[in-house]
Chain length 106, copies 2
Amino acid sequence: MKSEGQITDSMFYIMTALTRPRHGYAIMSLIEETTQGRIAIGPASMYTIIKKLLKQEWIYLQDGSDSRRKVYELTNQGKVVLKDEMNVRKLMVQLAEEGLGGMDNE
Amino acid sequence: MKSEGQITDSMFYIMTALTRPRHGYAIMSLIEETTQGRIAIGPASMYTIIKKLLKQEWIYLQDGSDSRRKVYELTNQGKVVLKDEMNVRKLMVQLAEEGLGGMDNE
DNA sequence: TCATAATATATCATTTTGTGATATAAGTGT
DNA sequence: ACACTTATATCACAAAATGATATATTATGA
């Protein structure tokens, strides 16, 4: 994919989880639970992406956080980026649905 | 992400395009057009992924193809995989929508 | 007809992303 | 005290994606 600061699957999932304040471990658990284990992001991927999202200022570390529980949440910019990305993904899902619907099998 | 044979964004987009028989160049053009340039897959990514999809037998090279226009299409297995992946993505989009909906901004 | 643009496939070397394994430590229940 | 869960963190490696580039064919139009 081209298009500058590309949002990957994992980034999208983590940002989605951060529409509510959550710490890293909770993000991992949430994604795994809500997708019934279909998607699982391990700690290595998690913290790599968290770092990047912080640098881009799409998420921020909440004040109340201590070193034991670091709570993150989307910034306003992050919300805009996520909303935008969601629309693109929605479109792609629609295209897949249409494509599959018109196929000879079923 | 964990979960064995993970389907990446690019793989998903290309498979979506191949719900109808298409050659490589047409896949690239289609994705770029339908997303209004938001998503663009260059030739390097394209052929890397095409190779992988062929190896997995999720797509096949149509008989009528010559070296100039290689037409691909989803196999039955490929259709199942895409349908499945579509459902996961649909779920994630729904979660993002719900998350954003409940946020303080708007 | 000659150049130019568009169509089409292909690969290399590099960068970017993602991940398994592993470490560390604090809290919880028994 | 012990095991288990919660929680953050990093390293070294693997996987994936991409920019640049090459090659050939087929329009387009001046």
